[in-house]
Symmetry: C2
Subunit: 541 residues, 2 copies
């Protein structure tokens, strides 16, 4: 291990995807894994394979499609999470073994409160289980990571002992999580320093840090851990994750990048892709990024937007510590218009990092021309909305054929929808609601007949201007759809996000709702197995 | 000054309100000041009075209405920002002098890059200006705060000298800003420790810290400054502010509160009001809070939401370091239904902290009954949306009488609107657009005829369920509407936010757009002076 290099371990697809409403389809997970590989992360934690057959299959596909180099480059390590049980470890191995560089990540809690109330195990039982399970994982896989859960609140002496056992048993990376986001930077740095000093055999392993943001200190704690000797940081895009989330990849990477004299540490991240990956993850998960989010918020570089900023532009360091170009936030926004051809579109998509096949390009070009008829200039953001809407949808079981809506202050908002069902039959339904979206959703419900609760509904304009595309993200919760949480070991209600984009926000709302319903039907196996490749597109009426 | 007490200096209304799109009406500012006083902040920085006559007037109103105790309690200090010029200091004094405890806060940059490129002043000139202007401010006001701008990048020796001069000249609080969010916690702590040790006369002053979040480290830096001896923290609600924002009040307060053994420091904040104030500021500024935001994000306490969480509930400390009740996030959400009377509504509003007059209660009760006819249960969030929509609107110049919309996939989305103008005349206009909102806004534009650019458009469902109220926030930028930025000293384009709530999101969109247009017309003086009290409500059709 190079002493001046910090490995970036991205857990967007595992700890991030566990957060309420962040559920992604397997196709979305695969696409996120692809962009993470292109971003330059060292390790992708692709999921928790024991949670369900779908989760296992999603990790397996990522191991095959992203974990095997097809162009001579070094692929990222593909990692699967496992509780410290034989079954979980076997499932994780089954999922990751196809990758060129697989890793099993197993964990067991070491704090008194977790051992007593959650595990109901004594210290000796914990030590023995760690030894056995790391040995077992290592018998399957060369690369084994072990995490003492809730390390931030564990007795340090006991922690050194457990870690030493894990190292003896064959663990190659020791990850120290502040599971509940409780520690302060000084404390967490001291914890890592103590581990470096007191754990037998630690000099041959990589120390990793995994922080949570409950007190707003995840980035500071991660940096404190790195200063104390950690050389792997576990992070997520946009800091998504349970509760207040995980450490944000973009913050840690840009702190190391902006303050080289303080750290003298490199990462493998291509920072110019950060803004695009942030947007993609926000679209797929439906978890918005607030405008004042560090590095990736819409206002993070807002000084650029003003018009009377001569002084600023001449000496941009007056109020700016990083350039927007560095994180890919300032690429020219005005790209294409109604006279742009298929070639120009394809060139622009390639420069944005999308490598589409001919059929997909044709499909997108058709949507592009339709949009260009309505909107003067088509920006990168518009193209990304079209791609999400067109290419990264779940398998289309129910599809929208037509929608007609009347609403306003005069009362009785009414929607008529025509849907095509999985067998190809058309259904028509009219419904009255409290507003146009309510009426539309009620009409869809009357046809689809799958009980669910709408948990979140958000509309954003993609760009400035009143003629902008509207993107709608919704989150629904099925009545009988549960998933196992690795840490609490209880089944949590599973929620499904949906996405739709259209210049008509009611049409976009209908598409987003159908997309969430299709995702739920596929995931609960109500209509055959999960599909992986970018699938059929939503048909345009 | 008590050694074990940290003063909370809230600058939501100054540094927060400067962020793009966060512009608030004077009525909204006054309401925010009221809830900040109730929250228990020690100092309210109410604005930058030299920016415009409106800004001065807004600060003056806050000084009078919030800065004078009317019930025997100790009111917060009301502070106004001023560059280090006689004119700015006079304007600040004119605005804050009515308060029982006024403060003038003046600043001048001390970093080489700012002195050379922005101020074009030598070190000696800077020292002299600081001395003169602090003396002048002190001649008007007992309580004077001085900030060396960009202290984080200033030469420490020079900084000690400037601060020493400010103290000799009469400054009572010395605020150390990390203006560009560049420092790391260790560095910032060391900067404060150096100031404590090397600045002549510092022992009689309060040291304050003011951090920015460009690298995600604002909270950690603020806490490091406090550990090193600072006893005032400058913060904003939700961490709003320019670029990646300021330090979030809720994170600093909850870190001190959650880790008493580490800090041993108290604040005057009533933490149980944090969630409500966060929501109010988000509504008024239109700046959303991401679900994974620490302390105030929708998911911050998401473990509570699950249904199969016996283990969690029995031993909630397993995965939880603070209780949602502590920040007021878990009050029962189900409050009222269609059979609830006016008395029940008023009681609920009072317990939520809204003290409305009879006329306002009547007005709200009417909206409440209309909503209860459409929606089964009315939650606190619904009530807050109605209050924002009904009571905290700008003076209504143009008002919506009627709206009728047809849209869908069949083409030609059409909107017809009827507006009442400031003279009471009715105007009707039909328009075609790319979607229902575009058509509606084009029809409104054709009547109002005030050129503007729509910068942001967001719709949120207030609660779960397809029958939820939709709240729309928009942000527009007028073509000739500029405002002076205190730091860059250039005129920035001013943007105006608008808010509307309705079960019909197209109606809510129309109301939000009119609210932003009215705000812009009032602020640019196109229709008489700014109004302060909670004003006429949007009429219901």
């Amino acid at each position: 291990m190079r002493e001046d290099y910090v490995r970036i371990f991205d857990t967007t697809l595992r700890d991030g995807e566990q957060s309420p409403g962040a559920t992604m389809t397997s196709a979305e997970k695969l696409e996120v894994a692809r962009v993470l590989a292109r971003l330059g992360v060292d390790i992708i934690e692709a999921g928790f394979p024991a949670a369900s057959p779908d989760d296992l299959e999603a990790v397996r596909r990522i191991a095959i499609e992203v974990g095997i180099p097809n162009d001579g480059t070094r692929p990222p390590v593909i990692c699967g999470l496992a509780r410290a049980t034989r079954n979980d470890i076997e499932k994780a191995w089954e999922a990751v073994r196809h990758a060129a560089r697989p890793r099993i990540h197993t964990f067991l809690a070491t704090s008194e409160i977790h051992m007593q109330y959650k595990l109901k195990m004594t210290r000796e039982q914990v030590v023995q289980r760690v030894r056995e399970m790391v040995v077992y994982a290592r018998s399957l896989c060369e690369d084994v990571e072990f995490s003492p859960e809730d390390a931030g609140r564990s007795d340090p002496e006991f922690l050194y002992r457990v870690l030493g056992e894990a190292i003896q048993a064959g663990a190659t990376t020791l990850n120290i999580p502040d599971t509940v986001g409780y520690t302060l930077p000084d404390e967490f740095g001291a914890l890592i320093a103590g581990i470096v000093q007191n754990t037998p055999g630690i000099e041959n392993c990589t120390i990793s840090v995994h922080c949570h943001n409950d007190l707003g200190l995840a980035t500071a704690n991660t940096l404190a851990g790195i200063r104390a000797g950690a050389r792997q940081a576990e992070v997520t895009i946009n800091g998504i994750g349970e509760r207040a989330g995980n450490t944000a990849l973009e913050e840690v990477v840009m702190a190391l990048h902006t303050r080289p004299n303080q750290f003298g540490l490199a990462t493998g991240i291509d920072t110019t892709q950060i803004a695009r990956v942030s947007k993609l993850v926000s679209n797929y998960t439906g978890i918005v990024v607030q405008p004042n989010k560090a590095v990736v918020g819409a206002n993070a570089f807002a000084h650029e937007a003003g018009i009377h900023q001569d002084g600023m532009l001449k000496h941009n360091q007056t109020y700016e510590i990083m350039r927007p170009e560095t994180v890919g936030a300032s690429v020219s926004k005005l790209v294409l218009g109604k006279h742009s051809g298929r070639h120009a579109l394809k060139a622009r998509l390639t420069s944005m990092g999308y490598f589409l096949g001919e059929a997909e390009t044709d499909q997108l070009f058709e949507r592009f021309k339709a949009l260009a008829d309505k909107k003067k200039t088509i920006t990168d953001a518009d193209l990304e909305a079209l791609i999400s809407d067109e290419l990264y949808q779940p398998r289309e079981l129910f599809s929208l054929e037509n929608l007609q809506v009347a609403c306003g202050t005069m009362g009785m908002p009414t929607a008529s929808v025509r849907l095509r069902d999985p067998s190809g039959n058309l259904h028509v339904q009219a419904s009255i609601g409290t507003g146009p979206v309510d009426a539309t959703y009620k009409a869809i419900d009357a046809i689809v007949q799958v009980p669910n609760i709408l948990q979140e509904f958000v509309v954003h304009a993609v760009t400035e201007g009143i003629d902008a595309l509207g993107e709608v993200t919704v989150r629904i919760q099925g009545e009988n759809s549960l998933v196992l949480d690795a840490q609490t070991e209880v089944d949590q209600p599973r929620t499904y996000g949906g996405y739709g984009a259209d210049t008509d926000i009611v049409v976009a709302s209908a598409k987003a709702y159908l997309s969430a319903i299709n995702k739920m039907l596929v995931a609960t196996g109500q209509y055959g197995p999960v599909e992986f490749a970018a699938t059929q597109a939503v048909q345009q009426a």
